[in-house]
């Protein structure tokens, strides 16, 4: 294990960190189990506001965002996220929606999503997309 430079959070040198943002408890648990089993470190938030607090205070390599959430939905969250200066504003975002509609996909892309998936997402597919978006070797 290499020594960590003082200005570098330990997680960066070990496993990619992914923030799962979804208001469904069981859904977060499902994504977390899949990602942890594949070697990712996972944080959770239940809406856009909580997610913003987390990405501004901790370092994440990817956010996975549900479109439909109470308080601050996925699109509003992405717009606000992309408005941030510094590293937080540039975090790759994978949007996952329950709706197959083109409207949601277009809104997500316009708000700054890097990739868009439609639920249900099988665990191996999720891991594959997360690995690509975080640059983790498969």
């Amino acid at each position: 294990m290499p020594d960590h430079p003082n200005d570098q959070p330990a997680g960066r040198l070990t496993r990619p960190r992914v923030l799962v943002v979804d208001d469904g408890t069981l859904i977060r648990l499902y994504y977390r189990e899949a990602l942890e089993a594949a070697g990712f470190e996972v944080g959770e938030a239940i809406n856009g506001i909580e997610a913003l607090e987390k990405v501004l205070s901790e370092r994440f390599d990817l956010v996975i965002v549900d479109i439909s959430m109470p308080k601050m939905d996925g699109v509003s969250f992405l717009r606000t996220l992309r408005g941030q200066t510094g590293e937080a504003g540039a975090i790759p975002a994978l949007v996952i929606s329950s709706e197959a509609g083109e409207q949601d996909a277009a809104a997500a892309r316009a708000a700054g999503a890097n990739y868009y998936l439609i639920k249900p997402v099988a665990a191996p597919d999720l891991v594959l997309h997360v690995a690509v978006l975080t640059g983790m070797p498969a």
Binding site: G24, L26, L29
Partner: protein
């Protein structure tokens, strides 16, 4: 029935025939559970244990306390209700849930809407947590819906244990080992603590299934697991319980009973559905809640 307490009976606590009848009527009114004369020995032993544990002087003294002190009544209910269960008990119903029931329910909903599952009585939580684990492991649409799992029981001590989520090896005997490793942590006393996130996925609440004031707080339930409790009730209490469950269900929702129980003998309100894995009871009106 559970093995008897090995402690010798205390000779001072004697329950007379009249006291037994008073207690039996009282317990029935509060819980719907009926004791027969054949269970007299069991009732006397448990009742004596309660009286001694509470420091009461005898039956009349303790009976008065049961009427005025809610915590003594809770303790008594806890002593008399059977809370032994285990994860993945009657697994065929969980299989029915994911192979048939949820597909039918979701066909009338929009993706992202909530699905409400209710385990009543849930005892110490094995059943509602089993539902959560089963869905995570076996339902490919688990991330498409907002799944709410509610665990309810009359016994507040059992609910506290459910919320703590600590289980013995015995409770986990039917759960595949890789799932035990995935969702539980061994704690120093050799027991198993359930994953925190899984613990957070079930909402626990005290509900007496024969009390409409309790069950009335729950509405639009899509699937109820009410297993192995109605067998303890008499006909009147069973009917009341069935009516209460019916009122809490969403139109088109399903109730699953224990494998020895049949709703057909209790209530005419439900449609009997014979699926390959299980017989379940549906509230008519599928599609009304679309």
């Amino acid at each position: 029935m559970r093995p008897e307490n090995p402690l010798p009976a205390t000779p001072e606590i004697r329950i007379t025939d009249n006291e037994f009848r008073r207690f039996r009527d009282f317990f029935y009114r509060r819980t719907g559970i009926v004791f027969s004369d054949a269970q007299r020995y069991y009732v006397d032993r448990r009742l004596s244990d309660c009286i001694i544990a509470a420091g009461s002087r005898g039956f009349p003294d303790h009976f008065a306390r049961l009427l005025t002190e809610p915590e003594e009544l809770e303790r008594l209910i806890s002593m008399f209700t059977v809370n032994e269960t285990y994860f993945y008990r009657e697994e065929y119903q969980l299989r029915c849930l994911t192979s048939t029931l949820l597909d039918r329910i979701t066909s009338h909903k929009k993706p992202g809407q909530s699905i409400r599952l209710w385990s009543i009585p849930c005892a110490t939580g094995e059943e509602p947590y089993s539902m959560a684990i089963w869905l995570l492991e076996n339902w490919s649409h688990v991330d498409s819906w907002d799944i709410e799992i509610i665990g309810s029981d009359i016994d507040t001590r059992a609910l506290q244990a459910a919320e703590a989520g600590i289980y013995s090896e015995r409770s986990l005997m039917r759960l595949p080992r890789h799932l035990v490793a995935k969702y539980f942590t061994v704690i120093p006393n050799g027991q198993y603590r359930i994953d925190d996130a899984l613990r957070g996925s079930v909402q626990f609440s005290r509900v007496n299934v024969i009390d409409q004031a309790d069950t009335g707080r729950w509405r639009d339930i899509d699937v109820i697991f009410c297993r192995n409790v109605l067998i303890y009730f008499d006909e009147t209490a069973r009917r009341t319980a069935a009516d209460n469950l019916y009122d809490s269900m969403a139109p088109g929702g399903y109730t699953c009973l224990g494998h020895t129980e049949s709703m057909s003998r209790i209530s005419p309100l439900f449609n009997v559905c014979r699926f390959p894995e299980a017989i379940v009871y549906q509230k008519p009106g599928e599609g009304i809640h679309a």
